[in-house]
């Protein structure tokens, strides 16, 4: 459904002295999302996870330079096509109700999304009623303003919004932080259901545990690239990339021991492997060129020494 090949996103930045800096925020990124599956995008903070969503939704800032290919249902995602698909075929579930219009009641707001998706006003109203019912939102919720609903209800309204849009591809951006564990689980279950009904779901999260509850596959991001694409079942024993392994070990329920160092700065990316300055397996070969994404034990990994 969604196919991303060799995506690159960069910005040209000018500082006070009119010095030009080239910021490469996404490099050689590959990702597929099929109908009926949940793909989780996890990885380092600031590794370009949200920018990937922005690229798919066609909402990158104007000064972004995009290379590589983005295809949706076989056709290239041009900016014009993005604008046309956004909210209809491709829906975003945002991080918080902060994205809802604070001055508009919840019901009309969700109905508007359904109408944008092509339903008549009456059909949209029926769809909203049915969807609210499905997510245990009382009919009276429709008459409330976003600030009048609880955090758990807000999550369900945001999921309902994606459902009434009839989108085939749903992108959820950090759906769980700050939620009560029960509500987080409920939200994740709803995302899984969307995939089971035949949609493609991409979940962007820094919470690996949450991702593993529902994902079929997990794409691990580091410094703007996919370092590994693994089946959820590969965690933790069958992981291929040293960064993925380190990320797993650093969880508080595991060793809580981090790898030292930091992601390379986007204006000073190394020529070789992006993880080379922190990698315990480093050899001089790693610095020669960017490792290609290659197939290892049924998954994909961008590391020359993974086996």
């Amino acid at each position: 459904m969604l196919s991303i090949r060799q995506l690159g996103v960069s910005f040209t930045q000018y500082d006070q002295g009119l010095n030009q800096r080239q910021l490469t925020v996404i490099t050689d990124l590959d990702l597929e999302v099929q109908a009926g599956e949940v793909v989780a995008v996890v990885g380092a903070s600031g590794s370009g996870k949200s920018l990937l969503a922005h690229a798919v939704l066609g909402i990158l800032p104007d000064n972004a330079q995009v290379t590589g290919s983005l295809r949706f249902k076989g056709q290239p995602l041009t900016p014009a096509r993005c604008a046309q698909l956004r909210g209809q075929d491709i829906a975003l579930i945002p991080q918080s109700v902060g994205y809802l219009d604070p001055l508009m009641k919840v019901g009309p707001q969700v109905r508007r999304v359904a109408q944008l998706g092509g339903l008549s006003k009456a059909a949209a109203q029926t769809a909203v009623g049915r969807t609210f019912n499905r997510y245990d939102l009382l009919p009276s919720t429709q008459g409330r303003y976003p600030f009048q609903i609880s955090g758990g209800m807000a999550r369900r309204v945001l999921v309902a919004t994606a459902v009434v849009s009839q989108a085939d591809l749903v992108i959820a951006d950090e759906p769980t932080p700050g939620l009560h564990p029960e509500i987080a689980t409920e939200t994740l279950t709803h995302l899984r259901e969307l995939a089971d009904e035949g949609r493609g779901v991409m979940v962007i999260t820094h919470d690996i545990e949450a991702a593993l509850q529902i994902a079929d596959r997990v794409a691990v991001f580091y410094a703007g690239t996919t370092v590994e694409i693994a089946a959820a079942a590969d965690f933790p024993e069958r992981l291929r990339h040293p960064y993925t392994q380190a990320l797993w070990r650093s969880l508080p329920q595991n060793d809580f021991i981090p790898v030292p160092g930091h992601q390379p700065s986007p204006d000073q990316l190394p020529t070789g492997c992006l993880f080379s300055d922190r990698c315990p397996w480093f050899t001089p070969d790693c610095a020669a060129e960017r490792p290609a994404l290659r197939s290892v034990r049924g998954g994909l990994v961008r590391c020359i020494h993974a086996d």
């Binding site: 990885g43 380092a44 955090g151 932080p177 700050g178 009560h180 981090p258």
Partner: protein
């Protein structure tokens, strides 16, 4: 009544007389060298409670005492608060070096991974994770005796989270600070507060439990 440590006694707070109580009769204490966890998803008044304990807000009823004394009205507060979003606590028009000079001299820049190259930059030129390291470096100084960490790594990946906490815990232990960790991640609180960094008996309190005196969970 307890006089050692940071003690909040019978705290009540609401934002206006027309609002319901955000904080209702909460009492809790953090001793020197003690790490206390406070389990709280959003919507339980945790941030308001944190602000009361650090003197950003005054309780309508109840008191906040440090070693038996009220919080100082001016000058550097010995109770320092770190938020989830560092953007809200730094002056956006100051360079990082000035932000760091504002308090006492920070001692942990290197260990927190605050890169010297960041010092000449402005807050918006750093990522959220980078700016959070700056915000933490700013309060790890000798004048800080108690630290309240309100979901400080909730938006960060596990490796960055572990890096930040290992540094903070080592500092807290070395200088015998009291630390109140507020969060919703049970695994993290357990790691930080139970049998972890501090040799004293540590506690995790649950703000969602209907009780006035917060009780240990583990």
């Amino acid at each position: 009544m307890q006089t050692n440590g940071l003690v909040g006694q019978g705290l009540w707070f609401r934002y206006s007389p027309r609002h319901p109580w955000t904080v209702r009769d909460i009492s809790l204490s953090v001793g020197q060298g003690e790490v206390v966890g406070l389990m709280a998803p959003s919507g339980y008044g945790k941030t308001t409670l944190a602000k009361l304990l650090a003197g950003y807000l005054s309780p309508h009823r109840g008191s906040v005492l440090v070693e038996g004394n009220p919080l100082p009205r001016r000058g550097y507060c010995p109770v320092q608060l770190i938020f989830q979003n560092p953007e809200l606590t730094v002056n956006p028009r100051w360079r990082i070096e000035r932000i760091l000079r504002e308090g006492q001299a920070p001692t942990q820049l290197d260990r927190l991974g605050v890169h010297p190259g960041w010092l000449r930059r402005y807050p918006h030129e750093l990522s959220g994770g980078e700016l959070q390291r700056v915000a933490i470096a700013r309060v790890l100084n000798p004048a800080t005796r108690y630290l309240i960490a309100d979901e400080i790594t909730a938006m960060l990946d596990a490796n960055t989270q572990a890096q930040i906490w290992q540094t903070v815990l080592a500092y807290v232990q070395q200088h015998q600070l009291g630390l109140l960790v507020i969060g919703h991640d049970a695994a993290l609180l357990k790691r930080l507060c139970v049998g972890g960094a501090s040799p004293k008996e540590n506690r995790i309190l649950d703000l969602t439990q209907p009780t006035t005196a917060l009780v240990p969970q583990f």
